[in-house]
Symmetry: C2
Subunit: 299 residues, 2 copies
């Protein structure tokens, strides 16, 4: 199949206990698409400013990622500045400059409206709905969200989620959205609100998949060093959706495997700043970690 | 085989968001032995005061748990008072009255010195060493510890761990003992200090086994309600050691299965106060959860 991802392409300035980097490539659509590109064809819908380095677009195209949907607008590219403490679990936002992303409201090019798989990264749920309304019945609709929209646009999000097959969010967001402290109760409550299934991302503690029919849990791939967790969630989503697209069918077995591939992709992403580690690996590296993960968890 | 456990038998007063109970049966040896008794023969070495209710000893004997090594001393039984907040992850100790447990320094009865498996629950590492010195070459030596001994008797603990096959501790203790924030690094550092293997208990986030040759990770059995986490760690250890004793051989495959059985036993323990839930279940209930867990985690 092929995947359309709608989200951000950004320049991040990141500080972790391992160092500091300014204006490195970031954004949800970036991490997602590079991760998914190991498995299948991806096209990006996003917007950047005139200042966005051409080399990044070239890198994406060299990976066979479709960039025709990345609009270059007059103004500056979305910038995010963040800092991580020693435990790496919480991102502290130092500054957010939305710039051209502020007015992001894409018209999906005609040739991309037939994409069978749609991933709506973390954007305003009203915008997620507006994008979906332009599509011609995708077979699989997945989306992410964040605390900002759960707080400020809960009604819109809940309405939109009825149209969604897979809703991805992290553990803190799942607790906030459901009002349940226990994650299994949270997953049940979220699925009762509309989406066909939910994936709760627990960072270093792994992932949980929940639908009315199926339930899957997996630990995270254990790493000795987490260098920069930025983009881990979107990279995970890219692995999940990328694998499902390549598999060509969505059932219990492919969903379980997709989540392990997602975890493996995220395990690479956090080993360096930006998408550097993802650009460094090849499919055999991914398969090796998949096989290691099987050995680590079998009983 | 058969197991000798050395630890506490206590009376707990516990407050959780679900209620409050006074002077209920607790103690590391209690949770461990009831959990292990589902798998194999266990004998307890402990001490209680004259006030310890006879009904508890009778209950243990009715489960074929050997209580001849529980010395009844003049004085009062060890009492612990604790409280859990809504998230249930941290026990707040309100009071500890060691009473007769203060002078616990057991002479192991001759007929128990040949026990092939020894579990030394959380007691002074000097006392753990003293107990071990009385034993006739057990085939498997496992022990627990806690922050109190890591802080106050690190030298004794490190010396003793060279004699230990499996060292069990929780994630916070593993970080404290090793000085490593990352749990994989912590596990490596701990094994480098002496024990043949380490099991790091991460509560609701599962478990990690690490030795120089093998590495295993598993999520926790997901529960909708955690009623009272007291004793979960010792119940886990009882499932691990109980299964290994029943299996009769200790290798990579039996260790992996033992850890899943340990997690299953702990999942029952936390569903009610004290050992109530453990007294309520039968082997088919355990096998059912084991099979559910396999379905939940396979990919």
């Amino acid at each position: 199949m092929s995947i359309l991802v709608v989200g951000s392409v950004a320049l991040d300035s990141i500080e972790t206990p391992f160092g500091k980097k300014n204006e490195i490539l970031g954004g949800s659509a970036t991490f997602f698409s590079i991760s998914a590109s190991f498995f299948d064809k991806v096209n990006i819908i996003a917007t950047v400013g005139e200042d966005f380095p051409k080399k990044h677009l070239k890198m994406l195209r060299n990976r066979n990622i479709g960039t025709d949907g990345i609009a270059v607008k007059s103004g500056k590219t979305f910038r995010w500045e963040g800092r991580y403490e020693y435990d790496m679990n919480v991102a502290h936002t130092l500054a957010t400059h939305l710039n051209v992303f502020q007015d992001f409201s894409p018209d999906i090019p005609q040739n991309l409206r037939n994409s069978p798989i749609l991933f709506l990264a973390n954007i305003d749920p009203d915008l997620q709905d507006k994008v979906l309304s332009q599509m011609n019945n995708p077979k699989l609709i997945a989306c992410d969200s964040m605390n900002h929209w759960i707080t400020g646009k809960k009604g819109s999000l809940e309405k939109f989620l009825h149209k969604v097959d897979i809703f991805l969010l992290n553990d803190a967001e799942a607790r906030q959205f459901s009002g349940e402290a226990n994650l299994l109760m949270a997953a049940k409550a979220i699925v009762a609100k509309g989406p066909r299934s939910v994936i709760i991302k627990k960072g270093e503690h792994g992932v949980m998949y929940y639908s009315k029919r199926e339930h899957f849990i997996a630990p995270a791939y254990p790493l000795e060093t987490v260098f920069d967790p930025t983009g881990a969630g979107d990279t995970f989503a890219g692995g999940v959706i990328g694998y499902l697209s390549k598999a060509g069918k969505i059932n219990d077995a492919t969903i379980r495997k997709s989540m392990v591939y997602g975890s493996i992709m995220a395990s690479f992403a956090v080993e360096d700043f930006s998408v550097n580690r993802l650009l460094d690996i090849k499919m055999p590296d991914i398969d090796k970690r998949y096989s290691d993960f099987k050995k680590l968890t079998r009983f």
